[in-house]
């Protein structure tokens, strides 16, 4: 190993990068752009649900109920219909997301102590939104029924009594901001892309153009070559991570509750894991197209779907839960959430960090084996 040679390779790679001002602009601008996208566009809070009412009773009681629903920010009344045949078209054409069908004997049944069945039709195409709508409506009906009951009780001079008073508290993220949850995942994804994909492309490019052979005959060893090639991208990725944290703080008020030094060290560990994937890909692929397809396929997809970035791992079936361990992003996201959101120390995530180091070692060994077997065949 010779530090001078590593420096020389790194210098060459830096020149490549900086001459390519478009690439540089992309690597710096798009993380911010992605953050804006996630911050503003990705939102699971369901508000302003489009509601259509088919009210067969149309009395004071039912009209107040509908008004009660639509007074909140959760429901917007699109309109009333008075024909059962029109209901299908309303959901088919996405005019409304749900339809409430109030029976003609609503008040009569309710005040004679019987159970009133109200039919609700919900557009289920988006399962998540549909189940949230379902929850909202259950609560809305429940609380309206309770209000009516209290009204009658008070008229009869009785006191309403509630056995349990539930006090809900949300720790770490009291206003349940989605952005705070997504930023760690976003950093992980962008680091993976810059580190794994860019590194593999820059290594394979030398293969594709034939310059790799020139380097092979030079005194630069393959370790020195890889180290030199990786350095510029590591630096870029670190700057990217800092940029996202800064923009996240300025625009979305996401503060880092834990230690910056820990964040830096764990980020470095994760970056090494990501570049090891890049190296593995570059050993297998011979053209940039293949390298690109492989790298996106084994980094981007699992880090988006299996890492717990957006979709909770606990809800996946158990074989998939085991499979989630193939992506280093899963562990890094857990570490980042521990540091950024919960502000806790090493004791809560040392096992994840250890796993990342183990992961890196295995991938590097694998890359080495494949490289050797390829060479012996050639």
């Amino acid at each position: 190993m010779n530090l001078n040679r590593i420096r020389a390779v790194a210098k060459k790679e830096f020149k490549h990068l900086f001459r390519d001002y478009r690439m540089l602009a992309i690597l710096f601008l798009f993380p911010v752009f992605l953050l804006l996208m996630f911050g503003y566009a990705v939102n699971f809070d369901v508000h302003h649900i489009k509601l259509v009412v088919y009210d067969q009773e149309y009395s004071e009681v039912t009209r107040t109920m509908v008004k009660d629903f639509t007074n909140s920010e959760y429901f917007d009344l699109i309109g009333y219909v008075n024909d059962a045949h029109k209901l299908k078209g309303i959901l088919d054409d996405k005019i409304a997301q749900c339809i409430v069908v109030i029976p003609s004997d609503f008040s009569r049944k309710f005040y004679s102590k019987r159970t009133v069945k109200v039919q609700v039709l919900i557009d289920g195409v988006d399962g998540n939104t549909a189940s949230i709508i379902q929850n909202y409506l259950t609560v809305a009906f429940q609380s309206y029924g309770q209000n009516l009951t209290v009204e009658v009780l008070e008229k009869n001079g009785m006191k309403n009594y509630q056995p349990i008073d539930l006090e809900a508290r949300f720790w770490y993220n009291p206003d349940l901001q989605t952005t705070r949850f997504l930023i760690p995942g976003l950093i992980a994804m962008i680091l993976l892309i810059t580190a794994a994909i860019s590194v593999s492309l820059s290594l394979v490019r030398e293969k594709e153009r034939g310059t790799m052979e020139q380097i092979n005959v030079s005194p630069v060893s393959s370790f020195e070559l890889i180290a030199g090639k990786i350095l510029p991208y590591l630096l870029l990725a670190l700057i990217d991570a800092a940029l996202i944290l800064l923009v996240g703080y300025l625009l979305f008020g996401v503060e880092i509750k834990g230690s910056m030094i820990l964040l830096f060290i764990t980020t470095l560990i994760f970056l090494t894991a990501s570049t090891s994937i890049g190296i593995l890909v570059s050993v297998i692929a011979d053209s940039q197209q293949v390298a690109f397809s492989m790298a996106t396929f084994i980094t981007l997809l699992p880090s988006f779907i299996l890492s717990g970035f957006v979709f909770p791992i606990e809800s996946m079936p158990w074989p998939v839960q085991i499979l989630t361990n193939i992506t280093p992003a899963k562990f890094f996201i857990e570490i980042m959430r521990a540091i950024i959101i919960r502000g806790v120390g090493v004791s809560s995530f040392w096992d994840q960090a250890l796993y990342l180091i183990l992961f890196t070692t295995v991938i590097i060994l694998l890359a080495n084996i494949i490289y050797k077997s390829k060479e012996s065949r050639a």
């Binding site: 195409v125 399962g127 409506l137 349990i164 820059s202 490019r205």
Partner: protein, 376 residues
């Protein structure tokens, strides 16, 4: 026509020479589909729970039992003090901690209101708020039971009214599976990746290696070159769509309820836009690395996020909703979900179909013009 066929043949020969690429294109969609089908769900099935029961009486244990018997809660830990509770929440092992005060059963026996604390790990806002909904429902039910039992003892009805019971019917996707929403979307996503990113890469590769100049000096006209370069990817795109549709109905039993022919027709209209965008990306980038980055970050990511593929457009701020009208994938998503899940056709989807046609022609025309000018 002959010339175009030759270029197409050349492209396919190149595919054949690089079998890894071919494998990735054909196998990736199926694996993607399986991942998305099984892994992508925002539902919360199990709320990992810690109970800190300071009362520890029959009443409090009944109360805890009402959580576990609802099927949504799994009590992983019992804490003996507040520090243990904090430690488990800090570590991220649990989503929800239930704190029952010491005088819980006494207060309920005395018909007083007993406070109960529910602490949630709020870092995942979506999971936390869904769990909070479950907790509220369980507590409500338990309260109601307490009231009911009072009624029995005194022998008179406590409640003067009946109850309102909503009867939910979920259309198109009765089990509320997220996968029914996501998987049809994959058709759109795959078509975009193949026809947009791979096309731009294929063209830029010729530029990078320098063979594009060799092609220019041949008598091939630029429209023939464009057609010859694009058609193989259209074919590949359709093959991928067929694979996805087959896998969708066999693995996840989601059949196509509407007309498959109409689905293919609309896919073709959509491909015009993505091919145009791919061509455009190839004109503004010099290396494959650039093309890939621009295509992914500048075109694909906004398309994915703003098309309603995973995140409902209705929840976004108004300005972003207006921007989403410019995204061709948005209309295509509505069309494929409509055809596959709702079984509707041109009569309901004519608006989206005509917008796609219009966008496709404009984008493809402008990009070809730019590509043509670049060649000269």
């Amino acid at each position: 026509m002959r010339t175009i066929l030759h270029i197409i043949k050349k492209e396919f020969l190149q595919f054949k020479r690089d079998p890894k690429m071919f494998g990735i294109i054909l196998i990736a969609p199926v694996i993607q589909l399986i991942f998305l089908g099984y892994a992508v769900t925002l539902d919360v099935n199990t709320v990992h729970t810690l109970v800190y029961d300071q009362d520890n009486t029959k009443e409090s244990r009944n109360f805890i039992e009402s959580f576990t018997s609802s099927g949504f809660f799994k009590v992983d830990y019992y804490a003996g003090n507040y520090d243990q509770l904090k430690q488990k929440l800090d570590k991220g092992n649990i989503i929800f901690a239930l704190v029952i005060p010491r005088d819980f059963s006494e207060k309920i026996a005395r018909r007083e209101t007993s406070p109960v604390q529910a602490i949630f790990n709020g870092s995942d806002g979506n999971t936390a708020s869904i769990s909070a909904g479950y907790v509220a429902t369980v507590v409500q039910g338990y309260s109601q039971n307490i009231l009911m039992s009072y009624m029995d003892k005194s022998g008179r009805k406590l409640l003067p009214t009946g109850r309102i019971e909503p009867e939910m019917r979920i259309w198109y996707n009765p089990e509320l599976l997220t996968r029914h929403f996501m998987i049809p979307g994959i058709v759109g996503l795959l078509l975009s990746i193949i026809t947009l990113i791979l096309t731009s890469l294929a063209i830029v590769k010729e530029k990078e290696i320098g063979t594009l100049e060799q092609l220019i000096v041949t008598p091939i006209k630029s429209y023939q070159l464009i057609m010859g370069k694009l058609i193989p990817f259209v074919i590949l795109g359709f093959i991928a769509v067929i694979i996805v549709l087959t896998a969708m109905s066999f693995i996840f039993s989601i059949p196509v309820r509407g007309s498959i022919l109409f689905l293919f027709f609309c896919s073709f209209l959509y491909i015009m836009s993505t091919l145009g965008l791919g061509l455009f990306v190839s004109t503004i980038s010099k290396t494959q690395q650039q093309a890939m980055m621009i295509a992914i970050f500048g075109v694909m990511m906004p398309m994915v996020f703003l098309s309603g593929f995973a995140f409902p457009i209705e929840n976004m701020p108004k300005i972003i909703q207006y921007i989403s009208y410019l995204i061709p994938l948005r209309y295509f998503m509505t069309i494929i979900r409509g055809i596959i899940l709702k079984g509707i056709g041109f009569a309901e989807l004519w608006r989206e179909t005509s917008i796609l046609l219009f966008m496709g022609i404009v984008i493809l025309y402008l990009s070809s013009l730019r590509f043509h000018r670049r060649l000269e």
